[in-house]
């Protein structure tokens, strides 16, 4: 067996929705403790790729897949492997903030409770830790029992990040996490992403090239379901190898 050096590796992945082919033969790995940005125009399969990594596409009845996705060396689509355990290990933040209709505290405790944490002190500690890591603690520590949907958009999104962190996943998937937020909140979340990469493997989907350049260490360019280029962000920014990549980052396609 090959030695496993990365949390997530993809080998020859192709996916379909019905008869429509979305991803075409993608092979790559995501470097640990860094931010990998997946860029590309709308409809190129960025979100599909992200959702294949935590098997969220399984919800779509017409979804089909070929190829292998490895999480710490284990095939996540292997029959009998637990999708619940997988999603606990691979957290996700969505495009629009989606706090549950409960208090701030209950939002954070939801995940740990699902996975069997019962002790109140431990839960309180998780709430505080997660909110601190998501840079939200100082703003909400006195309002933990307020309904989460009352928070501002940016706070809601940081709450969703804290919620994802609450079950301590080594990998964090982010699907355009700031695209629905105002610039100020977006900036805060970008800072947070850079801060979080010390402890997590972050895979960030974005159609915003500037954002990808600001926060990511590595970048992938996806075009019409094909992985066109995957390199360190610096190299892609300075000297893209493929002309389609260059066209995208200079704003000529997308």
């Amino acid at each position: 067996m090959v030695e496993i050096s990365h949390n997530i590796e993809i080998h020859n992945l192709s996916t379909w929705f019905g008869s429509k082919k979305i991803l075409r033969d993608i092979t790559c790995y995501f470097r640990d403790n860094s931010v990998t940005a997946i860029m590309g125009p709308s409809g190129c399969g960025k979100s599909t790729l992200l959702r294949t990594l935590n098997r969220l596409n399984d919800l779509v009845p017409s979804f089909r897949r070929e190829g292998v996705v490895l999480f710490r060396g284990q095939d996540i689509y292997k029959p009998g492997s637990s999708v619940y355990e997988l999603r606990k290990r691979i957290g996700m933040v969505f495009q629009k903030p989606n706090p549950f209709p409960m208090s701030v505290r209950d939002n954070i405790m939801y995940g740990p409770k699902l996975h069997g944490v019962k002790d109140d002190n431990e839960l309180d500690k998780i709430v505080e830790d997660s909110l601190k890591r998501a840079a939200l603690w100082d703003e909400v520590k006195d309002e933990l029992d307020q309904p989460a949907p009352n928070l501002s958009g940016g706070q809601q999104q940081r709450l969703c990040i804290a919620r994802a962190l609450s079950v301590d996943p080594p990998v964090l998937l982010m699907d355009e996490p700031v695209s629905s937020l105002d610039p100020l909140s977006a900036g805060k979340i970008e800072e947070l992403i850079v801060e979080l990469k010390k402890d997590y493997t972050i895979i960030l989907v974005t159609h915003n090239v500037q954002q990808a350049f600001r926060v990511s260490d590595e970048a992938a360019f996806l075009y019409l379901g094909e992985l066109v280029e995957f390199n360190s962000t610096k190299k892609i920014a300075v000297a893209p190898q493929d002309e389609r990549t260059e066209a995208f980052i200079t704003g000529r396609i997308g």
């Binding site: 919800l59 619940y84 606990k88 957290g91 969505f94 989606n98 939801y110 309904p147 079950v167």
Partner: protein
């Protein structure tokens, strides 16, 4: 002072004159005016029945409910009728509460879980279509037919006999379409991203449905339940053949001791009765029923709003 008064008057007069000239000058203004007037008349016609009903019921039954004389006011609700029906309507009130509670205990879980199944779990469109179609048709079936079915199927075929069980099960049939469809609507309004957020944390489908989706849909669910309860509280026809009647409260779930009175049935029986003093009691009971339905509405609205404020 008089100058000011003069000017206000002339101003008003000016407006009036301007308006008249407009109407005179332009057929379009006239059409506009007539249309407005017609709409106003329609609105009056729409709201009139409510006030007329309240007036009619109150004009005969008001003192029965709010009076302080013997057998009036609270005494009317707290005493049993006795053999000559000269007492109150405690039997009907207790009966209606028992029927509604039993019907809700059966009907609400069935329809809510049914809605959850077809909205969250059923994959094939066929199952969903069948359930939606049958429940829509069920909603349109006249209540007297449901009553006849309750008698034939529950009381006779299943041998439950008439009484509180057969009556409340028949009412439960009537609740199902309303609660099922409103619950379905409420579930459908919950954004997909909320479910995904829960699933992405490693939650099971059941946990997601119960803790997140249902919670988000709760205000809509309460509205549906309240609509259904308000509706069955006032149903007479389904109970005529299934609940029986009683001057007292039921002592058993099935059998002859289970016969039960209800407010709508009592109103119907009293109004059909030639004895003069029963008219006031019938309308008093009607007023009481309307107040009960109002109370259910208000309470459920408060719950719904409070939950909404707390959660959504």
């Amino acid at each position: 002072m008089s100058d000011e008064g003069q000017s206000i008057f002339s101003n008003r007069f000016l407006f009036l004159r301007e308006w008249i000239t407009n109407v005179k000058q332009s057929r379009r203004h006239l059409a506009d005016f007539l249309f407005k007037a017609a709409l106003t008349a329609i609105v009056v016609i729409i709201i009139a029945p409510f006030f007329l009903i309240v007036f009619q019921v109150a004009s005969i039954g008001f003192w029965q409910v709010f009076g302080t004389g013997r057998g009036q006011g609270i005494e009317f609700f707290l005493t049993f009728p006795g053999v000559g029906l000269e007492g109150g309507i405690r039997n009907a009130i207790v009966g209606t509460v028992e029927l509604v509670v039993l019907a809700s205990a059966v009907g609400i879980p069935l329809s809510v879980l049914g809605a959850v199944y077809i909205n969250e779990y059923a994959r094939s469109g066929l199952v969903r279509n069948i359930v939606e179609f049958t429940s829509d048709v069920l909603a349109g079936i006249p209540s007297i037919v449901i009553g006849a079915f309750g008698f034939t199927f529950l009381a006779s075929f299943l041998n439950l006999g008439m009484g509180v069980l057969a009556g409340s099960l028949t009412l439960a049939f009537m609740m199902i379409p309303t609660v099922l469809r409103t619950t379905q609507e409420a579930l459908r309004a919950v954004p997909m991203s909320l479910r995904e957020g829960s699933l992405a944390l490693g939650a099971t489908k059941w946990s997601t449905t119960w803790n997140v989706t249902m919670r988000a849909a709760f205000p809509g669910l309460v509205t549906g339940v309240l609509l259904a309860i308000g509706r069955i509280m006032g149903e007479t026809a389904p109970l005529i053949f299934t609940a029986g009647n009683s001057l007292s409260v039921p002592t058993e779930l099935v059998g002859s001791g289970s016969w039960v009175a209800s407010i709508p049935y009592t109103i119907w029986a009293y109004i059909s009765d030639p004895r003069e003093y029963l008219q006031a009691k019938a309308h008093g009971a009607a007023l009481g029923l309307m107040l009960m339905v109002l109370a259910v509405t208000v309470v459920a609205n408060l719950i719904s709003r409070k939950v909404t404020r707390r959660l959504v």
